[in-house]
Assembly symmetry: C2
Homo-oligomer: 241 residues x 2
Amino acid sequence: VLTDLARLPEAEAAAVEVDVAVLNVRSGRLHALLVERTVEPQLGRWSLPGHIKASSESLDAAADRALGEMLGSGMEGSHVEQLASYGDPDRDPRGHVVVVAYLALLPEAWVPPPASGGIVARFWAVDDLAHGYGPALAFDHDRILADAVERVRSKLEYTTLATRFVPDPFTIGELFDVYRAVWGVDPGDKANFSRKVKGTQGFVVRTARTTAPSGRGRPSMLYTAGPATRLHPPILRPLRR
Amino acid sequence: VLTDLARLPEAEAAAVEVDVAVLNVRSGRLHALLVERTVEPQLGRWSLPGHIKASSESLDAAADRALGEMLGSGMEGSHVEQLASYGDPDRDPRGHVVVVAYLALLPEAWVPPPASGGIVARFWAVDDLAHGYGPALAFDHDRILADAVERVRSKLEYTTLATRFVPDPFTIGELFDVYRAVWGVDPGDKANFSRKVKGTQGFVVRTARTTAPSGRGRPSMLYTAGPATRLHPPILRPLRR
DNA sequence: GCAAAAGTGTTCTATGTACACCCATGT
DNA sequence: ACATGGGTGTACATAGAACACTTTTGC
């Protein structure tokens, strides 16, 4: 595959790894999917799922492939986008490995496969990881994960990505809980939030059904994600001064 | 350098290239710095400046090095940030080359070196390039440049990056012209724009001096860039509906 | 009836916009 | 004087925050 590459005067061969920060809201907290490493280096530490990019596939395809290996089927509703690349010279003891990191968002319903094929994967609450109440991550994956979390927090402000965290028909209250979980703070008044969401063209589409009156309180209308991707006006995090 | 890399089962060696989209506002229009290729492939076509990343340097360092080769000294006031990575399998006929693209912003004053060391570099207006009134770019650099332009247009809305396009002491009018040049549309009322800029803490710092009354009209106050990086509230592009 | 969750109404304030008007300079 | 660009004042419309209040359910 590296046909003419040797002609490049300063060429120093590298491996391009594609890792995916898979994020998810469960039990009202933002989580990240990690896998336990079964080989050296960093055996036993937890890392973002990923693998080496093949020369015959695009970066996006490599990310989809990594996601497919973790999720099997059921990755249809997930959002995948490129995050950033990391190439510090000492980031991997194996040598010259540059990581192209991706970000993926999953609805809460999805559950990780129970140690399929020998790989152990589970979700960890990102604030636990950030505050040391979880395993130390391999390589520079703590920094990649921090960047992914900040990207999602920021993107909830001006895009419709919050709908990627909820099941297919969802309530405004579930959307509200996503914002609260991802931001870690209450997104202001629930009533005003509801008006903002319904008032933004294409954010949510109202269905004819309501939730079954299972729990306490009045049943709520069910919505599906609309065609819009950007929010005008944005829904900003509070506590700015 | 690739000590243990061969152990990676699916490893397919690649070259990591770092290219920089160097943007600049001159004569009221947004320009990009391109270099004419002097070697195959794509000899004679124009491309973004860049080179192969060394295994001993970080991605940021590789971008700084590429910029330094173009600018010599005088790159101190420039802003450099990572943009995105591109790795389609057929993007480079030499083989498996993944590009990590960077974005750099220069003040208008800077002039390209006159064919130093055999390389020919010049600025091209980005809208001319986009509409075919310029050379065709090598590889997928047209797409990278388009992404860079969109990034800058968007970042002017919610960051203080516009100050990176103007000379060190600058006037509000010059800032206004940057917004107009980058966006391609008038950023609304000039008087209101001036109040927005001065009212945002840390965006600009007023100096004691004014411009020399050289041209027409009243001399204006001179400002320097402040410490703030984000704009609260943002300065949004008009024509949204 | 009471608690809980959904949803509507209303008031107040902050912000953005449009546009009139004044200021300082060169010709 | 007047054209030109810099800068201030001000009125109007609208968007957001705070909070009271109504609706619909389970217990």
